[in-house]
Structure formats: C-alpha cells, structure tokens
C-alpha cells in the first residue's frame, strides 16, 4: 500500500511541478507550486515524519504561498511582452538536475538496507531542539524577530 501511495504522490507532485514551470498564467503557476508543497508534505507523512510534513504545510502553504500570490498581485504585469525562451534558466535547471542525479546515483546509502527507525515523536524533536540545538534555535528566533521589526519599520508611516 505504501509503494502505491508513493507512486500516486510522486506522479501528483511531479505533474504539479511541471505545471508550475510551464503554465502561462503566473497565478496558476503559483497555485501549482502550492500543490507541489502539499505533495512533498505528503511524502514526509508517508515516511512517518509527521512534524516535518506539518511544518512544511504550515510555513509553505500558510505563509510562503500567500506571500507569493500577494507579490504577483501587487507587482505590475506586462502581459503583452514575450521574453522568448529563457536559456539561462534552462541551463541552471539542467545543471542542478544533473548534479543531483549524479550525487544520488553515486551515494552509498542506496546499496545499504536502511535500519528500522522508530517513528519520531514531536516530543523527541522538541526535547532535542530545547537541549542540544537551543543556541541555533535562539539565533533563528532572534533573526526572525529582527526581520519582523525591520519590516514594521519599513512600512511605518512617517510622523509629520
């Protein structure tokens, strides 16, 4: 059942990714990207990593996707202009795809049988974050707070 689910999710995600790359309307492409995020979250669920999947949905569908669609909404569109085929983007994409394929094919872990891992609970993740990784966590928190305050200062009305 798991392999069937994997194939369904993979086809779904890849189709959405293809749609995100090729659709003419920018908004449709952005919404297809959201489907890709959901598909990847589903993959994490399938692997038993519930927390990562939920965090992915939370951050990417709830926040990043809304940011993307708002950016599309608030920036001027020049519909008529045809920029032609983007060769630079194609080269970068092929290079990334080639590099990833090469490294996946050369990795040792494909040949080794994965050890059976017990499902990771949210509690374990929380404990690890609060003990071993407490400094990185605090740094990220500080950075995000600084970014939030910076954004507020940027949009604040100037006092006359």
């Amino acid at each position: 059942m798991n392999s069937a689910a994997l194939i369904i999710i993979a086809v779904f995600t890849l189709a959405a990714a293809l749609a995100a790359a090729t659709l003419r309307k920018l908004m449709h492409a952005a919404l297809s990207l959201v489907v890709v995020f959901v598909g990847i979250a589903a993959l994490f669920f399938l692997l038993g990593a519930e927390f990562v999947g939920l965090a992915l949905v939370f951050i990417y569908v709830g926040a990043v996707a809304v940011l993307v669609v708002f950016t599309i909404l608030l920036t001027p569109r020049d519909v008529g202009k045809d920029r032609g085929f983007n060769w630079g983007g194609a080269i970068v994409a092929v290079a990334v795809f080639g590099g990833l394929t090469w490294s996946i094919l050369n990795t040792q872990s494909l040949a080794v049988v994965a050890p059976h891992m017990p499902a990771l609970t949210v509690k374990q993740i929380g404990k690890t974050l609060m003990t071993i990784y407490v400094w990185p966590l605090q740094c990220v928190g500080l950075l995000l707070t600084a970014a939030l305050i910076g954004a507020l200062i940027l949009v604040m009305e100037e006092k006359r």
């Binding site: 059942m1 309307k25 908004m27 959201v34 927390f51 965090a55 939370f58 709830g62």
Partner: protein
C-alpha cells in the same frame, strides 16, 4: 451501564469492522477511515443545518421579531428549503473570471474546514484522526484557508472580491498569531501536542468539586478569552466581519459566487466556527469531560456537544449584540493588545508550573496577568472621553 452507552459509537464501529475480518489489513484501515469521514460529515452537516436555523431564530428573538416560522414546526425545516433553493439556483460565473481558480476556491475552503474537524476528540476514544501533532495539524491545515480566500478574491476578477479577500487575509494573519500563541501554554503545561492527551490532562477535580479544566487557572482563563476572540476573527463573524462588510463591499470575496458555491462558502464558515470552538473546548474547557462527578453518568459525547452548543450560542449572542468594528481598530487591537497578552499567558503558565501548580501558583500567575493587563491598558489608554457623537454636517 453508563460505560456501554458512553462507548456505543466505538462499539458500533468495531462491530461494522468485524464484518470485514479475513480481508487484508489495508481494507479494514480504509473502511475505518471511511466510517470516520462519513460520521464527521453526517454529524457536522446536520449541525450546520440546525445552527443556521437556530441562529436566525435566536437573532430574531434578540431583535424582538419572529424569525423563520413558516416551514415545518417552528420553522425547523427551513434549512431544507434553503438547501433546495441553493441547489436549483443558477450558477453564475463572471465572463472575465479566472474559471479554474474561481471553481477551486470553494472546494478548497470547504475541504480545509472539514479536515480541521478531524483531530478533535468528540468523546472517550472518539477522535476521528489520531495524530501525534494534532494541534499543529489543526493550525497547519487551517492556515490554508487564507489561500482559499485569496483564490476566491482573485478568481472572481472583481474589485469588491479582491478588497474583501485582502481584508480577510490581513485580519486572519494578524489574529492567527494570538490564536496559536494562546494554545501554547496548554501545550507547555501538558507537554504534548496530542488533543487526546490534553483532554486526559484535564480529568479529575480539585477538592472533589471544581473540575481541573485549564479555564479555571488564571493563565487558562486569559488564554481562553483571547483564543475565543481570535476564533471569532478567524471565522469572520460579527463583530469582526469586515471582510464581508455588506454595506461597503457587497459580500467581500463571496460577491461573485452564487447558488451552491455560495452555500459552500457559508458552510465552510460555520464548520470553521465549529472546529475552532471544538479546539477551544479541547484546550481549555476539558473537552468531553463532565463538569461534576455525579454528572459523569451522562456520556462523554453528549457533554462535548452541550459545550459546543453553549459556545455557539455565545457566538450568536455576540453577533446579535455588537456592532462591526473598523479594520484599523481590529489591527491595533491585535498587535498592541492581543499579542502581548498572549505572550503573558505563556509566561503566566510557566510561573504557574514553577510555583507548584497549586494555590501559590494560582496567585502568582494571576499577579503576572493582572500586572501586564493593567500596564497595557494604561499604556493604550488614549484618554479619549466618551461623549454623544456630534454631527457637524447633518442634523
């Protein structure tokens, strides 16, 4: 006796599944999931129909009129008439609309609302979808509502729709923060994100009298009020229905929807309201626990729906009482009052925990909340005098 009534739905499901013995494991699994989904939809769509007519009746009562009383006894069959009307109405899609997005928006919003219902424990052993991070699931899936609202506003290709969607997203984002942060103290105190564990942590009674619900601790009471207000905003209900402000922007993001699609939006709004009330009960009001020991003979799911009904009554009551707020008032309230108070609840819960969770903890955490509340109200007081409005350009 009480135990068998309490577990009647659980046993019924097991009996249904026992007819599948011998079939492979995944068939039983899928059947179990399908039964859960069917029950959720059946119960909550019925409740939606019931609440839609009850709301109109209660509002009418508050405004000293009759309300719907033509269809069936006391107008109770009104939802059936409404449903038939909505189904046979013409479905109008604007010519310049983005057809796909316009169609997908109500689908997504309804799906999201129904998904969030899944993680709430409705009774002893009655959680449709048990997941380790259930509270996180609720908020993660619920945050997709904003995207659905945006799709509705964008897909309609209408100024009013887009304005309504932007207002809705602005207020949903602002109030999502206090909503999540007020859930945090409960998660901290229980040490779990699983709704079942949170409900289990609220079992028992202090001095054999007061139930150990979190709403009876100072931080819990403050967090519950904040959570309830944020829930009102998240479900776009009066006094926070600025996104739909019918006197300004027709119906906000639902302007270009008609017939069944409009009904879907309406349904999603109510189901979102049920879900957020259900979560508030799970977090603060002891979920399905009875309020007194002698009342425990009444099954747990009955208590859940009694509590849900009372919370929904408060929703309707607030709608019948308060006028609509302005968007700038709402934003100021969210960022200047709700957010600091939500953080205070987190600190007060920590104080409560380290002062021993007893009477001493109660007093200390009450002190923390009282100090911050007083400081905030002094700081935010603009010193404006309340006086009758003076009309300069009209009599």
């Amino acid at each position: 006796m009480s135990n068998s009534i309490d577990q009647v739905f659980v046993h019924a499901k097991q009996w249904l599944l026992s007819s599948l013995t011998g079939s492979p494991g995944w068939v039983v699994q899928v059947a179990s999931i399908l039964i859960n989904i069917f029950m959720l939809l059946a119960v909550f769509l019925t409740l939606f129909a019931l609440i839609s007519v009850l709301e109109r009746k209660i509002l009418a009562r508050m405004q000293n009129r009759y309300g719907p009383n033509r269809v069936g006894p006391f107008g109770l069959f009104q939802p059936i008439a409404d449903g038939i009307k909505m189904l046979i109405k013409e479905d109008i899609v604007p010519a310049r609309a983005d057809k796909i997005v316009h169609f997908l928006a109500p689908v997504l919003i309804a799906a999201v609302a129904i998904l969030t219902l899944g993680v709430i424990p409705y009774g002893r052993n009655m959680t449709p979808f048990t997941i380790d991070g259930g509270i996180l699931f609720f908020f993660a899936v619920g945050s997709a509502t904003e995207l659905a609202v945006f799709m509705a506003g964008w897909g309609s290709n209408n100024k009013f729709s887009m304005l309504g969607a932007m207002r809705a997203i602005a207020q949903m984002f602002s109030y999502e923060l206090p909503l999540i942060i007020t859930a945090l103290p409960v998660v901290m105190v229980v040490g779990s994100l699983t709704p079942d564990r949170i409900v289990a942590a609220q079992a028992g009674y202090t001095f054999d009298l007061v139930p150990r619900w979190f709403v009876f601790t100072p931080w819990g009471a403050a967090a519950f009020v904040l959570f309830f207000v944020s829930g009102l905003v998240e479900s776009n209900r009066t006094p926070f229905d600025v996104p739909e402000g019918e006197s300004e922007i027709v119906a906000g993001h639902m302007t270009e929807y008609s017939g069944f699609k409009y009904a879907t939006f309406f349904m999603a709004e109510y189901i979102g309201m049920f879900a957020v009330s259900g979560l508030a009960m799970t977090l603060f009001l002891g979920g399905w626990h009875a309020p007194a020991r002698i009342l425990e003979i009444i099954p747990s799911y009955v208590w859940f729906f009694v509590k849900l009904g009372s919370l929904l009554f408060v929703y309707i009551w607030v709608r019948g009482t308060l006028p609509r707020t302005r968007i700038d008032q709402m934003m100021n309230f969210a960022w200047k009052f709700m957010l600091p108070m939500a953080f205070t609840c987190v600190i007060a819960a920590a104080v409560w925990h380290y002062a021993g969770r007893g009477l001493r903890g109660w007093l200390w955490s009450f002190l923390v909340i009282a100090i911050v509340y007083t400081a905030l109200s002094t700081l935010l007081d603009t010193g404006r005098k309340l006086a009758p409005r003076v009309y300069r350009f009209a009599e």
